[in-house]
Amino acid sequence: MDIKLSEDQNLLQDTAARFMQRECGFEFLRDIENNSNTGFCPHMWRSFAEMGWLGINLPEEYGGMGMTMVDNVILLRELGRKICPSPLLHTVVTAGESISRCGTEVQKRELLPSIVAGTSVYAFAFQELSRFFHPSHIRCEAKVEGDAYVISGRKMFVEFADRADTLLVVARTGGPAINRKDSSGLTMFLVDRHSVGVTCELMPTMSRDRQYEVVFDNVRVPESCILGNVDRAWADLEPAIQKTAIALCAYTNGAGFEMHARATQYAKDRVQFDRPIGQMMTIQMYLAQSIMELYGADTLTLFTASNMDQGLNVRGYVGKMKAFCAETVCRNMDTGSQIFGGMGYMEDHDTTLYLRRGKQLELMLGGTEYWLEVIAEEIIDRQPVNLS
C-alpha cells in the first residue's frame, strides 16, 4: 500500500497544472462568465482533446487512453483548482461511460472516437421539476410510435445543453414509479440537440455557469437512439453516475485546495494588530480544520476511485465520498471567504468566483440528501459491514 503517484501520474498532474495555470486565470473565467455564449472555451476544449484528456478513461480500442479512475481524479483535481469550465464531466464521464458500458458495437464505434476527438459535446438530461435526484422522480416520458419513440417532458439543470451536440436523456418507458425507491421503467436516449421539439432556456445560477431548462415537446427519435436496455437504464446509468461523482468530487477537492491556499496566503500577508492575522488562533483553527477535511476528502476520493479500478462494489464509498466532499467544498469556500473579511464578499474580488461555486458544487449531481440515502441503504438495509 502506498499513496505515491507513478511517474506517468506525476507527468499528468504537472502537465494539467501547468496548462491550467497558463490558460485558466481569473480574467479568462470572468470573460467566460460574462461574454461567452457557450460557457466554455472551444479552443481550450480542442487542447483538451489534443492532450488526450477527453479519452482519459475511454477504451483504447475506440481511441481512448484506457487510463484508470485514479488518473481521472488526478486530472480533474487540477481542473478544479482553477475552477475550469468545460463539458468534460458529462461528455467524457457520464456519456462516455454509459456508451462504453451499454452501447451497441455500432454506437461505440461511431460515438466514442468523436468524444475523444472533442468533436461532440454531450449534456446530461436527468433531473426534473423536483428537488429530488432519485430516478423515481423522473416523469419525462418516451412512448412508442411505430418504429420510433416520442419524448415529452421537461428536464432541468442540463449543463451546456444549448451548446451540446447530443443530449443523454433519461426517460420513462415502463410506466410510473410505484414508490420513491423505484428505479425501474427508465430508458436512456441519445437525442440530437437540434431535433424538432427541443427547446433550451438558460437558468441563471449562482456560479453563472450554463444550466438549461430543456423542454421536449413530442420529440421523435428513432429506435437507434436508445442506449442500453429498454426499461432498465438504471443498472447501467447508476455506475456511470458513480463515476461522474468521483470525477466531480476530484474537481471540488481541487477547488477547495485552491481556495484554502489563497486564504492561507492572505492570512500570512494581511496585518492587523501589528501581526499577520494568521498568527491569531481563531484563524489557525479555521484553516487547520478545513485542510484536515480536504485531506480526508481527497484521500477518500482517491480510495474510492482505486476501489472502482479494482472492480469492487463502491456504492457505499461513493455515497460517503460525495456526501463528504460536497459539504467540504462548500464549507471551504465559506470559511476561506471569511478569512478575507469584507473583501471576500466584494463582487470584483477574485475569490468570490470560488465562493459562488461552493454551494452550487455541493448541490449538483444529487444533493446530499440523495447520497445520504445511498449510504443508509448500504449500511442499514444491507448486511452488517465488516470494515477492515
Binding site: M1, F273, P276, M285, L287, L387, S388
Partner: protein, 398 residues
Amino acid sequence: MNFEWSEAEKAYRSEVVAFLEEHVTEEVRGSWLVDTPARIEFVSKMAAKGWLGQGFPEKYGGTPSTTPFAQYILNVELDRFNAPIVGKNVGTIARTILHVGSESLKLDFLPKIFNNEGQWALTYSEPSAGTDLGNISTFAENKGDHLEVNGMKHYITSAHFCDWYWMVVKTSHELPKHKNLSLIIVDANSPGISIAPMYCVGTTTAERTNQVFFDRVKVPNSRIVGELNQGFYYMMQAIDYERFAIIAAAQHNRRFHKILEYFKEVDFAGERPLTDDPVSRSQMARLASRVEVGNMLERLCMCIAAERVPSVEASMNKAWGAMMHDETCSLAENILGPYGCLAKGSPYAALQGYIMEEYLMAGHGRIAAGGVDTAKTIIARRLLGLPNSFAPPVLSAR
C-alpha cells in the same frame, strides 16, 4: 498509488486473526487500561510470536518485519477483537530509545519491551503543565553520579501497576523554556515515590489514573535518555508516534458499528430508529461518511509512517478520531432521547449504559495525547506555515 494490501500483508493478517481467535478470551477483552494477569499473559503470547519488536534491529530483540504496516495491521485486528493494542511501550518508548538512547539503554530495555517484561507509565503532565509541557516544575538536580528528582505528576494512567516511569523533568534553571527539559527512566520501586488515585468521570466503568509524588528520588545518570536538556524535542517526536499508535481509527469504527447494529436491531415501542425515523437514518448516514474519513486519514498517516515520522498527518488522525468518538456518542445519545441518560442497572439503558459511558469518555479522548485544538495548532504551524500564536506580534518583534 495502491490502496490494497500485498499478498505478504494479507498472509500476515490471516495469521494475526487466527492467533486472536484462539487467544482473545473474555478476560482479555476490554482490558485496555487495567493490568490483569490475563492481559499480561496475552501480551506475552504476542511477544513470543515476535510481534512486539517488528521492524526493530535483532540485536535489541527485534524481529524482521514482513511489511512496514505490520504493526498497524496487528493493532487494527487487536482493536477489532477489543483486545489491548500495542501502544506506547513500542510506539513511543522503544522508538525513542532506539533513536536517541545510549547503547546500554537499548540493550537493557528494548528486549524487555519486546518480551513484555514490565509495564511503563508515560509521566509528563503536572498541575501547571498540561498542554504547555514546557511549564513543568518537577526538577532533577545534578548530584554527580545521579539525579535527584523532586516534584509531582498527574494523569499518570499506568502508575499503579507500572515498573518504570518514562518521565520528563526540568534539568536546568538557567536555560530557556523547552531547552531545559530531559527524558529519564525511573524505577517505579525507587524510594521516595508515592501515588494517589484519580478517577475519570463515569459511573460503572470509571477509569483510574493517578497522581505521583517524587520526594528526593535518586536516578542514575545512565537512565537519562539521549542528551541532557533535549527532552522536549525527543518528546515532540515521540508524541507524533503516540497519536498514531494510540488513537487507531479501528476503535472508532468498532464503536460506530456497535452503535449502528444496536440501532438497527432495537425496538423502541414498535419503532426501529434507523428504518422508521428518516432524520436519525440520514444523520447516521452522514456520520458514517465522517467515520470513513477517519479511516482515510489513518491510511494516509500509515503510508507516510512507512517512510518518515507522520507529524502533521498524525495530528490529523488524532484530531479526527477524537472528533468521531465525540460525534458518534453525541448522535447516539440524541437518537436515544432521554433514554440516553440511563445508566447500567436500568433495564431501559441502551447497551447496558455503554453509550452513555462512552459519551462521557469522548471528551477525554479529545484531550488525551495532545488535545484536538493542540493538534490543529500543529497543523496550522507545521503544514500551513502560520506564525506561532504565543510569540509576540510578529511585526513588533522584528
